[in-house]
Structure formats: structure tokens, C-alpha cells
């Protein structure tokens, strides 16, 4: 419960939270609390996603969803850090990590807040494509809010180094794009999270296709243009 208190600080006193990250105040404790909170929230949301298929899928998605976010974090953090350093930032790698973890924590807590809605649709509709698109939309909203937090935090934390501030803002914008691409490809690699009802449980599906064509196909099927094969 003590670790969950960090969420209140992030949501209600974010400026003070970012200033503390800038000043390196209790950075390890903050990161630990954010890590525990996000893993818990994401695991629960993953469990909700997988419940539509089977118990095994529930457990598998509960494990895979936190892995998806944390792996994306690990993969993308060095790029942001080194490009920021290149353009005059004086932040440490840990500060960068903490900032991105803040974005993930915000995303995770928002996802958890959507969980009752997802359960409602899970119980009242059997359309797999609709359920999938609903979740893509929820992830997009929560992810966008998360990176908005990251953007605010980055501006505040890197305020000390005025040199190259404009370039760093561009770096952050481009990095957010890369982060979204890496995240979606990671999600595609670790799929299934929901599990198509006509297919057996699999921990990982064979590779092939990509996230975007699959989403377009789902939209096409929902609109009645064609059937996903």
C-alpha cells in the first residue's frame, strides 16, 4: 500500500515529483514503488484481457503485459538518454529511466481504471474483433497520456541545461514515435494477449504479419468489408 502512494504524488503533485527526480531525491525508492505499482496494475489488466479465452491465457497475459512494457522501457531508454546527452542534457541514465517509468506508471494506472469497463464489454459482447479494437483504443489513450507526462517531466528535469533545449524537445518527440513503434512491435511479438476464440491457447504465436495490418483488417471486419483470415 505504501508503494501505491507514489501514484498520488505523480497524479496530484507531479511538478514536485519531477523536481525531486531532477534533484535525485529518493530516486531508488521512487523507481521501486513505480515498478511494483506498474507490474501489479499491468498484470491485472493483462488478466482481464486473457480471461476472454481461457484460464491459461489469463495467466499468460498477466505475465506478458508487464513484460511488454518493461522490455520496451529497457530497449528505448538508452536512445533517449544518449541523444539527450548529445544535445546538452545533464540528466543521468537513472533519471531518464525514472521519467520513462513515470510514463509507464501513469499508463498502467489508467489501464487499471479502464479494467471494469473492459470486463463489462467482455461479459456483454462476444465479438473478438470489437474487443481487440476496444483494447487498442484504450491502450492508445492511456499510452498518449503517459507520454504527455513524460514530456512534462522531461521539460522540468532538463530545465537546468538550457543549451540545446529546443533540439532535446525534438529528440523527445521523435523518441515518442520510436517508443510507440517498438511497443507495438513488441506487443505483436509477445501476442496473443486476448487469444482468438477459435484458436488453441499458445504462449506465443508464430511470427508473421504485423500489428498495423492486423488492426486494419479488424477494422475492415467490424465495418463488414471482409473476414479476417
Amino acid at each position: 500500500m505504501k508503494d501505491l502512494a507514489v501514484i498520488e504524488t505523480i497524479l496530484r503533485n507531479r511538478h514536485h515529483f519531477f523536481i525531486e527526480i531532477r534533484d535525485g531525491v529518493e530516486l531508488k525508492e521512487k523507481m521501486r514503488a513505480m515498478l511494483i505499482s506498474s507490474i501489479l496494475f499491468l498484470a491485472l489488466y493483462g488478466g482481464v484481457l486473457g480471461a476472454t479465452h481461457s484460464l491459461w491465457q489469463t495467466l499468460s497475459s498477466a505475465v506478458k503485459l508487464p513484460i511488454l512494457f518493461l522490455l520496451t522501457l529497457v530497449i528505448c531508454t538508452p536512445t533517449l538518454y544518449f541523444f539527450n546527452v548529445l544535445f546538452g542534457s545533464n540528466q543521468s541514465l537513472t533519471q531518464n529511466f525514472a521519467l520513462i517509468l513515470t510514463a509507464i506508471t501513469v499508463t498502467a494506472v489508467l489501464l487499471l481504471s479502464f479494467a471494469p469497463i473492459v470486463v463489462f464489454f467482455l461479459l456483454t459482447t462476444a465479438n473478438y474483433q470489437f474487443f481487440k479494437l476496444l483494447n487498442v483504443a484504450i491502450f492508445a489513450i492511456c499510452g498518449a497520456t503517459g507520454v504527455t507526462f513524460l514530456s512534462q517531466g522531461m521539460r522540468l528535469v532538463s530545465a537546468a541545461g538550457k543549451e540545446g533545449a529546443s533540439a532535446r524537445r525534438w529528440v523527445l518527440r521523435l523518441w515518442i514515435l520510436i517508443y510507440a513503434f517498438v511497443g507495438s512491435q513488441m506487443a505483436w511479438t509477445l501476442r496473443p494477449f486476448i487469444g482468438a476464440p477459435s484458436m488453441k491457447f499458445e504462449l506465443f504465436r508464430q511470427l508473421g504479419g504485423n500489428f498495423y495490418t492486423n488492426i486494419f483488417a479488424s477494422i475492415g471486419e467490424i465495418l463488414g468489408f471482409f473476414v479476417v483470415r
Binding site: L112, S158, A196, R229
Partner: protein
């Protein structure tokens, strides 16, 4: 103003009227001058009552009215600016506790929707029929309102001819999706699926049905029944011999030979 001799001194009323006329002329001049400088506003503002007679001054010379310079808008300091100050820290609303409760609620919901609720062991989360959410693919096992079970292959429905064939090809009941007959009508019918058995030491081919082996008399019959060579499975002769004989195909083919 009309010039007046000191002899016929105007009355007080006339004096007031003259002053009013002067004030009106002065105001008109001022308006004209303002109209030349800037376009008139859409709705004229309410003017205060006329000043007392003692305050009326002589008309000002016509000309543009100077406007005070507009100060540039002051930008609010943003996070990151030197003069920016963070807003005061908000008091706690025990969000951590609320989040803890939400966590427990969602965990309870996840557990609840995974508990089997009917005698087939289906949970709430999976109780809705999923015909609308099928991914059409090869190997999809479908059943309509009748007893026939089909497998989808190359966009064609292949009827699984017997329980033996169903089990022989490794299908399980939880793979069977019950769909509307209309959904099935949307597909062409393909070759039925039979279990055709042969052992290496014998030239005869048998069809497995109702746990019996049915001898297929000759190639013409084999082809007439819609079978293809690719469907023939090789098993040991001992296994084939252990299966009881059923009626041959066609039924008047005579006693079936042993493999």
C-alpha cells in the same frame, strides 16, 4: 456663437441654451475626429450624463485623438523557465488506499469471471457463443444445428464422416464451434473426411466406420466414393486384422478379404 451687445443682455435660459449648443457642437467635432482615426465601434458605449454647465470647456481643435500604447501581453512562466514556481503541494486524498481497493476489486472480478459456472466447466468470461468472433482459417471445426461436424479446409467444408475419423485426426470436442446453419451455407462443400487404412503387405484398402473396417472392393469403387490416394493412411497389418469386419463397399461385393 451669436455676438450680443451689452445692452440687450440674454436671459439665463438663453445662456444655458447657448452653452448646450456649444457643447453639442464640440461633441460632434470630437466624434468626427475619432471617426477619421478609427472605425466606429459596433455599439456605442453608454455615455455619462452631460456635465454641469460650469464644467463645459471651449471646443478643442479638431485632429486625431492620441491613443495610449498597448503594453505587450505578459507570458506566464512555464515549467522549465527560471522564474517558474511549482504550484503549492496538494494535500493527500488517500489515493493509495483507493487504488488498493480498486486493485482488489479488479483482482476479484478477474477471479470471478474465470470460475466455471455451468456443468461444462465454462466460465462467465467465455459463456457467450463465439460465432461472431471466429477467425476463418484452415482447421476450424464447425457444427450447425444438425449432428454433422465439418472442418474448414481451403474455404471448403469437409464433413467428418465418423467418430473414428474425428478422433483419428486428433480433433477434440472443445475445438468444435457451434454456428448458425446460415454461416455454414456460406461455404462450398469439400470432400468428406474418412479414415482409409492400408497395410504395406496387403493391396486392400479399408474404410474405418463404427469401429469396423469396411473393405473397398476396387479402384473404381474407391474413386466413385470420392476418395483420393492422399487420404490413405498406412498402419500395421496386425492392427488392421484386429479390427472387426463391417459390410464391404459396395455391400454386394462379397466376403471381405483379410489384409
Amino acid at each position: 456663437m451669436v455676438a450680443q451687445s451689452p445692452v440687450d443682455k440674454p436671459s439665463t435660459a438663453e445662456q444655458i441654451l447657448d452653452l448646450l449648443l456649444d457643447a453639442l457642437a464640440e461633441r460632434q467635432q470630437a466624434r468626427r475626429a475619432q471617426a477619421r482615426v478609427s472605425p466606429p465601434p459596433a455599439a456605442p458605449p453608454l455615455r455619462p450624463a452631460s456635465p454641469p454647465v460650469e464644467q463645459i470647456r471651449p471646443a478643442a481643435p479638431p485632429g486625431p485623438v492620441p491613443r495610449p500604447p498597448v503594453p505587450p501581453p505578459r507570458r506566464e512562466p512555464e515549467p522549465g523557465d527560471e522564474d517558474w514556481q511549482p504550484p503549492p503541494r496538494l494535500p493527500s486524498i488517500n489515493l493509495g488506499k483507493t487504488l488498493g481497493r480498486l486493485l482488489i476489486l479488479v483482482a476479484g472480478l478477474v477471479a470471478l469471471i474465470n470460475i466455471p459456472v455451468n456443468r461444462y466447466g465454462v466460465s462467465l468470461a467465455r459463456i457467450l457463443p463465439d460465432s461472431a468472433s471466429l477467425i476463418i482459417r484452415d482447421g476450424l471445426v464447425l457444427k450447425g444445428s444438425g449432428p454433422e461436424i465439418y472442418v474448414l479446409e481451403d474455404n471448403k467444408l469437409r464433413w467428418i464422416s465418423s467418430l473414428e475419423a474425428f478422433e483419428y485426426f486428433g480433433y477434440t470436442w472443445d475445438q468444435v464451434h457451434i454456428v448458425d446453419d446460415k454461416f455454414l451455407e456460406g461455404f462450398e462443400k469439400g470432400r468428406p473426411i474418412y479414415v482409409l487404412l492400408k497395410c504395406p503387405a496387403s493391396p486392400h484398402i479399408y474404410r474405418l466406420e463404427n469401429q469396423q473396417k469396411r473393405w473397398i472392393k476396387d479402384i473404381d469403387t474407391f474413386l466413385a466414393e470420392g476418395h483420393v490416394w492422399e487420404d490413405v493412411k498406412f498402419v500395421t497389418c496386425d492392427y488392421l486384422r484386429s479390427l472387426p469386419d463391417g459390410p464391404p463397399i459396395p455391400e454386394d461385393a462379397g466376403p471381405p478379404p483379410q489384409p
